[in-house]
């Protein structure tokens, strides 16, 4: 029988430590919507999404009520649109029409984001892939809820440097197209290496081609719960520290598993995975940076940060894996800057630099995330930063990503404001030495030697 202490512990996590289920993401395959005619394609997409996702938001609300746990976001991910639109779209403008259709669908079924305006080009680009990529800045400027991602490298294929170069230009253009909104377009655009097919988190969610017709993926959260648990072991040794993180991660993930199973049963859609990520929000007490401080750092960025983050990430996985029958997505600790109050403070205090963040991404689950850089940063420099981050992913056989915001008209020391879950960010300094000759080489970086395991 459940005891009062256990009930109180759970409810304290929910009420005071920001425990929530961050997202229920419904993956929908659009492969059966394909048509050579753009209008037919858009109509097919509309009817499929509206049919599959009709009950998503009401089901989410029912589950919230049943268990008394907030489910912050209900979202949709779709098959990468470069594949779906290949036959119908002759130019980038045609793809923008699909983006508008996706945006309308998201608004109709009341989800706050729809992901999958994506291309998978880790080895090379088809004409459709390139057209989609070139349409991204416009698509993000003309829509509110569409999220875009491009996978430009993998451990198996190497890094497509032509795509890396193009993405540097597209990020600059997306910033320009949305300069009236602090270059918000870039906050909805991610460049990946080793992108997972089942990631429920935005902006990088898409419904991979290895997936079925539809699937429920759930992203848990709970940095505040981990931070609070660690307050009780401030002077403890590493064994106690790690055990505490592991146990807490287990409890958090169990809630995700429960919600995922319930949503899957109620909607009649197969359960895919639970993503174990510790995802912060700009709310006070919902910060991964605060966990790092609780482990013993003055600010994230101080010497020891990479080790502390490595420990945290590994224990979250160890605790979470046993709590869920299927684990996937990004699974680890997110270290976005604008979405985490503690990271913002670390940048403002001068403790955290872009280079240290890059080192941290070697041991965490994503990458350079939600970082504002000066609007004067060149496309080549952005491509250089992307190439570095992709190389970390390729060599370490892990997912890495880049979501940079070269804020138009802003310089180091200025701030960008996105509001809501996307938060605000101080503009960070970028190394100003050139990399043009490197970035402008054509072709791809070969796959690393350890990819040949056959």
């Amino acid at each position: 029988m459940i005891t009062r202490i256990e009930v109180n512990e759970t409810n304290k996590m929910i009420e005071h430590e920001n425990l929530d289920v961050r997202t229920i993401t419904l993956g929908i395959s659009l492969l059966d919507c394909m048509s050579g005619d753009l209008k037919t394609l858009c109509a097919n997409i509309r009817s499929k999404i509206l049919k599959e996702a009709e009950n998503l938001v009401p089901t989410g609300r029912e589950i919230e009520s049943l268990y008394g746990i907030p489910i912050v976001n209900k979202r949709i991910s779709v098959t990468p649109i470069a594949l779906v639109g290949g036959a119908a779209c002759r130019c980038p403008e045609d793809f923008v029409e699909i983006a508008k259709t996706l945006d309308e669908c998201a608004k109709t079924v009341h989800v706050n984001f729809i992901g999958g305006y994506s291309a998978l080009v880790s080895k090379a680009m088809t004409t459709a892939d390139e057209n989609l990529i070139r349409s991204i800045p416009r698509a993000l400027a003309l829509t509110d809820r569409v999220c875009s991602s491009v996978n430009v490298g993998s451990t198996k294929t190497g890094i497509n440097m032509d795509a890396v170069r193009l993405m540097g230009q597209m990020i600059k253009e997306a910033a320009r197209e949305t300069r009236d909104r602090d270059s918000l377009g870039c906050a909805k655009l991610v460049v990946f290496c080793n992108a997972p097919d089942d990631n429920p988190f935005m902006a990088g969610a898409f419904h991979g081609v290895t997936e079925g017709n539809s699937v429920i993926n759930v992203g848990v959260s709970g940095p505040g719960v981990v931070k609070h648990a660690l307050e009780a072991c401030r002077d403890a040794d590493f064994e106690v520290l790690c055990e505490t993180i592991k146990r807490t991660a287990f409890k958090i993930t169990r809630v995700g598993q429960l919600v995922a199973r319930e949503a899957s049963e109620r909607m009649g859609v197969p359960f895919g995975i639970v993503d174990l990520s510790l995802a912060p929000t700009p709310a006070v007490g919902d910060s991964v940076a605060d966990i790092l401080k609780e482990i013993g750092l003055e600010h994230p960025g101080a010497p020891g940060t990479t080790a502390a983050l490595a420990l945290l990430n590994d224990q979250v996985k160890k605790g979470g894996v046993m709590a869920s029958s299927y684990v996937g997505g990004l699974s680890g600790a997110f270290i976005p800057v604008s979405e985490d109050q503690g990271m913002i403070e670390a940048v403002e205090a001068g403790a955290l630099t872009l280079e240290k963040l890059e080192a941290m991404t070697c041991v965490c689950s994503v990458g350079l995330d939600m970082i504002a850089i000066p609007g004067s940063t060149s496309a080549e420099t952005i491509s250089g930063i992307i190439a570095d981050e992709m190389a970390l992913g390729m060599i370490n056989q892990k997912t890495t990503a880049v979501r940079l915001i070269p804020a138009e008209g802003k310089e180091v020391g200025d701030r960008v404001e996105f509001g809501g879950l996307l938060g605000h960010a101080p503009v960070m300094a970028v190394n100003s030495f050139g990399c043009e000759r490197f970035v402008n080489r054509k072709g791809r970086i070969p796959a690393p030697i350890h990819s040949f395991k056959n």
Partner: protein, 90 residues
């Protein structure tokens, strides 16, 4: 059987249990277990109930108990037992 956990937390006052139990009796909700304590004037109660015979949904029960809580100045939560079972039992 649908086990639902009801928790009541707040400053102690006369008639908290009476109010909650009257509501439960009136809605065919059976109490399986009660545990209650008062620490520093704070009332803390947990009830394990069976809501399967009630004509109301858990959402309605949750909403109405929340309102009763507001009337008497305590916080009342109503949750399906599974969230606690999942979190605290392997």
């Amino acid at each position: 059987m649908q086990k639902t956990i009801i928790t009541v937390v707040g400053r102690d006052t006369v008639g908290i249990i009476a109010k909650v139990c009257t509501y439960l009796a009136g809605n065919e909700i059976n109490i399986l277990d009660i545990s209650q304590t008062i620490v520093d004037g704070f009332f803390n109660m947990m009830m394990i109930t069976d809501t399967s015979k009630s004509s109301k949904s858990i959402t309605e029960i949750r909403h109405e108990l929340h309102q009763i809580g507001e009337e008497i100045g305590v916080s009342i939560h109503t949750q399906h037992e599974d969230i606690f079972e999942m979190m605290h039992r392997i």
